[in-house]
Symmetry: C2
Subunit: 243 residues, 2 copies
């Protein structure tokens, strides 16, 4: 794939039985992918695991060693199946406990609502030692960053708000830009010229994404790279080859 | 998570730069998850990797060692970025070449269409040694099964048709069934009683999936397990605890 060698890499870890059972369709991966691409960070791998501490720890330790950033979604609510904070603590080998600043945020929020900060809600103030909080403007209960791991909620509106809180704090690279050529011909007719032009522009990623529409085969040919002028030149060459 | 110990496990490997860049929103994971659950196979892990042979080989070899079945999507078309067959061959250490039965399927298809079976299309007849073909009633070019790895297309209509071709050939376990209780109260109010009832029914998975609707917090409480009578008893206990 056309990654800019200079861009930071990232992985995502989606935590949740509901995704794996087919009950819920994940929306956060697609959102994060677009946001990272726009910020110049290359999302390189995603894993989805169940609400199971050994599975979370194993995946997290593999990903945080391999990538500059790891973003997690899911499992930081108040219920018994919200085990992400403990799993992160176990992965890093650090203590997890109720933290005063997180508790204060929750206390003020539930006071305003006239609700009780009960034991279940207080679970959302349990933060691994050494982490910094990620602001949650939607529902207050914070996410957290521990080293290169950014732990966020699974509810899409909250996840998206936390991404907005975290991304500006991270150093990005050169955003990839893209050009798309939509062809109403089957990939089998396009593949030869496409491959030849792709070989001439090694710094640009050439992707072919086939579709069927009303029984007709077509493909979107997508060129992706950091340099707009190079993209335009490659697109002109592709159009000429397919004319 | 509530897996039936007797059920076969499965993983999915999604192959494609377009998912990781945010260009395309994956639809196949959600489809496969629902189909496997209905068939009594527990989807336990999903990974998404880019069109990069070392990444595909590494993920595939990890997953096929850990799970009874691995399902892949993407990268088996005619273009230069379709590298899945070669990556599977590399992962298993077997030769990949044009196979007569696959070529015959394609030849008949393109003859009917009046199209040429050119070099690009012939790439779709390249199958690792030892594999069996997976029927593709949508667009003919086959997928394949090699040992416990089922290799399928990324285009959702084709992926779904291939899943329908493969699933009946696999031995499933007891399908998980579920019961859902929709509560218009915040998770923080539900979590205490929910956790207590969950502890009384260790063979049932209790999940809490929060939502916001028109500014009101609610949660779907989902009980999942193989035994309908046990689910009904647990649901009655949960309703009583939350009354």
């Amino acid at each position: 794939m056309a990654q800019s060698a200079a861009n930071p890499t990232a992985a995502m870890l989606v935590i949740g039985d509901e995704i794996l059972s087919g009950r819920t369709r994940d929306a956060n991966m697609h959102h994060l992918a677009g946001q990272l691409t726009a910020h110049g960070i290359d999302l390189t791998e995603v894993r989805v695991v169940s609400d199971d501490q050994p599975a979370i720890v194993r995946a997290l330790n593999a990903l945080r060693a391999d990538y500059a950033h790891v973003f997690t979604s899911g499992g930081i609510g108040p219920t018994h199946d919200d085990i992400t904070a403990d799993a992160i603590g176990a992965a890093f080998g650090v203590h997890v406990g109720v933290r005063d600043d997180a508790r204060a945020l929750l206390q003020a929020h539930y006071d305003r609502q006239g609700s009780e900060l009960n034991a279940a809600r207080l679970r959302m103030a349990r933060i691994p030692d050494g982490a910094t909080l990620i602001e949650n403007p939607v529902s207050v209960a914070p996410g957290f960053t521990l080293e290169n791991v950014h732990v966020m909620a699974g509810v899409p509106s909250v996840f998206q708000a936390m991404v907005q809180s975290v991304l500006p704090t991270l150093t990005g690279g050169q955003p990839l830009v893209s050009r798309t050529l939509r062809m109403m011909r089957g990939e089998g007719d396009l593949a030869g010229p496409l491959g030849e032009v792709a070989a001439q522009y090694p710094d640009i990623s050439f992707g072919s994404y086939p579709f069927q529409k009303d029984g007709v085969y077509g493909a979107n040919l997508v060129l992706r790279g950091p340099d707009e002028a190079a993209l335009d030149a490659a697109m002109a060459a592709l159009e000429a080859a397919l004319a």
